[in-house]
């Protein structure tokens, strides 16, 4: 046990509030709570959507009505009343260009340290900012357009590039995929669309920031990234929300399509409001469906994620390795503290020949939290000479947390290898002793060991994000030692 002095310090840091938990005072137009076909028709009308998209939404809604919320996860979900959620919220003043963005919103994103204006140039990142249900600003569009790259909000894409959206929407995550994905297909409000033309290497990191501001709204965004033959793109995603006592739902769909020789790198730093650390009240329900399709030969999709926030997390970024020689990678650090619960992992489905996949998953649980890894590796009969390697390690801090590992490995091909290994333990006392002996405090030593534990994953993050991730890790772990 730490000394009384240390205790006090820990108590102080524990009392520290979620730093992104402020509410921005913006006049917004919000739908009254509830979902029915009229709401969807109204939503579609506001967005001036073509008929095919309205049909897509209505069909999804009809399928969703006949579905039941699944309950197989290890999460304790309080029943969600879908009629009390508002399905659309937008700042009243619609911006025509970045200069016209409501200063309050600009300030909000400044507070979060997200470069929208001149700072974007310094950081060398193109940003799309989604505030509640609407994309408020997309930077760098011109520079990207010169190369033929399309990076815009989903609604813009529906108007300007309907043929591309129509061709790929719902091809990776079908309408009837699962309860939350289907709900998203019915009511998705906005999101990001990226198209990289043939043989183009995207010169910038593309980035989207999502923020839920209004109370009682759900955020349902949809991201669609298409990398045409021989192209490369790296995409970052970050999220925050204000502190509120009630739970808010976030159900997003992310679809990636990599054609022949293309490579997509998708990185996420998720820092939704995790709920009150002591009582577990409030927080975001993060039920996300993410899936990538390696459609062409030699394509590659990499998921890198760092999950620190959300009251409940339920997501499995997956790769369908359809093209021959395609590669799927998944690097994840999931950290739960307080009363958080996470059920996360990945699915690797090998269909093409010589496909390879790597899964590195690190789970850290502290406080009263539960951290579950659930993964599927499936090698189909057609996937000759495929290889999979999985390593999932769990680190536990304190005797009130849980770490659960549930891998599913199915191999149907005689010439394919699957390897899986997992360990669960606490921080090694010898290592801690070594660092303490060198004069480091207990908290610093623990932080150092944890960042060593996560290093393999953080190396995969783009540089700016890796720095942010390390800082976030320290903040999230504060007070959990001892």
């Amino acid at each position: 046990m730490p000394k009384i002095k240390d205790r006090k310090k820990i108590e102080n840091t524990l009392a520290k509030e979620y730093s992104a938990g402020f509410v921005t005072d913006v006049e917004s137009e919000t739908f009254p709570p509830g979902i029915n076909e009229d709401v969807i028709i109204r939503l579609s009308k506001i967005k001036k959507e073509p008929k095919w998209l309205l049909d897509f939404r209505l069909n999804s809604y009809r399928i969703w009505e006949s579905m039941k919320q699944p309950d197989w996860s290890t999460l304790d979900i309080e029943p969600i009343d879908y009629q009390t959620i508002s399905y659309y919220s937008a700042p009243k003043k619609g911006p025509a260009s970045y200069d016209e963005v409501d200063p309050e919103i600009k300030k909000d994103f400044e507070k979060l340290g997200i470069p929208l204006g001149e700072r974007a140039k310094l950081a060398g990142v193109a940003v799309d900012a989604v505030f509640d249900s609407v994309s408020v600003a997309t930077t760098y569009q011109k520079e990207l357009a010169d190369k033929g790259i399309i990076f815009c909000s989903f609604s813009e894409a529906v108007h300007n590039h309907p043929e591309l959206v129509k061709k790929y929407l719902g091809t990776v995550i079908p309408k009837s995929d699962n309860y939350f994905a289907t709900l998203n297909s019915a009511v998705f409000s906005d999101g990001t669309f990226v198209y990289i033309p043939k043989n183009t290497r995207c010169p910038l990191e593309l980035s989207t920031y999502f923020r839920i501001n209004t109370a009682n709204t759900g955020q349902f965004e949809r991201t669609l990234i298409v990398a045409d033959e021989g192209s490369y793109v790296s995409y970052l995603e970050g999220c925050t929300a204000p502190m509120r006592d009630e739970n808010q739902l976030h159900a997003a769909n992310v679809e990636l399509v990599a054609l022949k020789d293309a490579e997509i790198k998708y990185s996420t730093i998720q820092n939704w409001y995790p709920g009150d650390p002591v009582t577990g009240k409030g927080g975001i329900y993060n039920f996300v469906t993410k899936r990538g399709l390696c459609k062409g030969a030699n394509s590659k999709i990499t998921w890198t994620q760092f999950e620190t926030g959300s009251r409940l997390t339920w997501k499995y970024p997956s790769c369908v390795l359809k093209g021959d020689n395609s590669v799927g990678e998944f690097y994840s650090v999931a950290l739960t503290n307080g009363h958080q619960m996470a059920d996360t992992g990945t699915k690797m489905i090998h269909i093409g020949k010589n496909t390879k996949s790597t899964i590195i998953s690190k789970g850290i649980s502290a406080g009263n939290s539960t951290n579950t890894y659930r993964g599927l590796v499936k090698v189909m009969k057609s996937a000759t000479n495929s290889k999979n390697f999985t390593a999932c390690d769990s680190l536990m801090m304190g005797n009130k947390c849980s770490a659960i590992t549930i891998p599913y490995i199915k191999n149907e091909n005689k010439n394919s290898y699957c390897n899986h290994e997992a360990t669960t333990s606490k921080i090694n006392d010898d290592q801690l002793f070594y660092l303490r002996q060198r004069g480091l405090g207990e908290e610093d030593a623990t932080n150092m060991l944890i960042s060593g534990f996560c290093k393999q994953v953080f190396q995969q993050l783009p540089m700016e994000f890796a720095v942010e991730a390390n800082k976030l890790l320290e903040v999230s772990m504060e007070g959990s030692v001892g």
Partner: protein, 188 residues
């Protein structure tokens, strides 16, 4: 039946067998499972304080499916458990589902689980689901699972020593469960 002292017995099992083991404080048990016919087997192990359990199994099934489900619950502090299950599949499907549960407040436990599957032909499949459910931090737990064909390099090595293909495969299959066979032989 209360078992004290050293005890050894060989049992023939029927299909769909459910075996429940309750290992008392300070006791240790070593269990071997071996089968060539293919069947469904459920093994439940309950460990009390300081108890140790080792479980080894190899299943070589020709055309018949082997399904094994193990559930190990550590109900006493400082209990230990080792599991090693190996399946050789020829025109067959194997499935292994293992679950290790360590409840809250049961500290000082150690539990390891290993599952290896060999696929010898295109009609074979292997399914593996090694689960860990750990609820306190004073625990060391590992699991590992591998699935695949016989290593081509190893076959090449033996072939280059003048051994024909079929014999080389046979030797490597033998080697695949050699550890378990060895452990069995020193026990008897």
């Amino acid at each position: 039946m209360e078992i004290t002292n050293h005890y050894k017995e060989t049992v023939n099992l029927k299909d769909n067998a459910v075996l429940n083991y309750d290992i008392k404080s300070n006791a240790s048990a070593r269990l071997f499972f071996c089968d060539h016919e293919g069947f469904d087997l459920n093994i439940n192990v309950n460990l009390h304080e300081n108890a140790t359990c080792e479980m080894y199994g190899f299943f070589k099934s020709n055309g018949k499916n082997a399904n094994v489900v193990t559930t190990v619950t550590h109900n006493g502090k400082k209990s230990k458990c080792d599991q090693d299950f190996r399946f050789i599949n020829k025109e067959s499907n194997s499935s292994f589902q293992g679950k290790i549960t360590i409840p809250k407040n049961i500290t000082g436990c150690e539990s390891n689980m290993l599952n290896k599957n060999l696929l010898l032909d295109t009609d074979s499949t292997a399914f593996s689901k090694p689960e860990l459910d750990i609820n306190n931090d004073d625990t060391v737990c590992t699991h590992g699972s591998t699935t695949g064909p016989i290593d081509k390099d190893q076959i090449f090595y033996l072939r280059s020593r003048g051994i024909d293909e079929q014999s080389a495969v046979d030797i490597l299959i033998e080697a695949f469960y050699q550890d378990i066979k060895y452990k069995m032989s020193i026990d008897q």
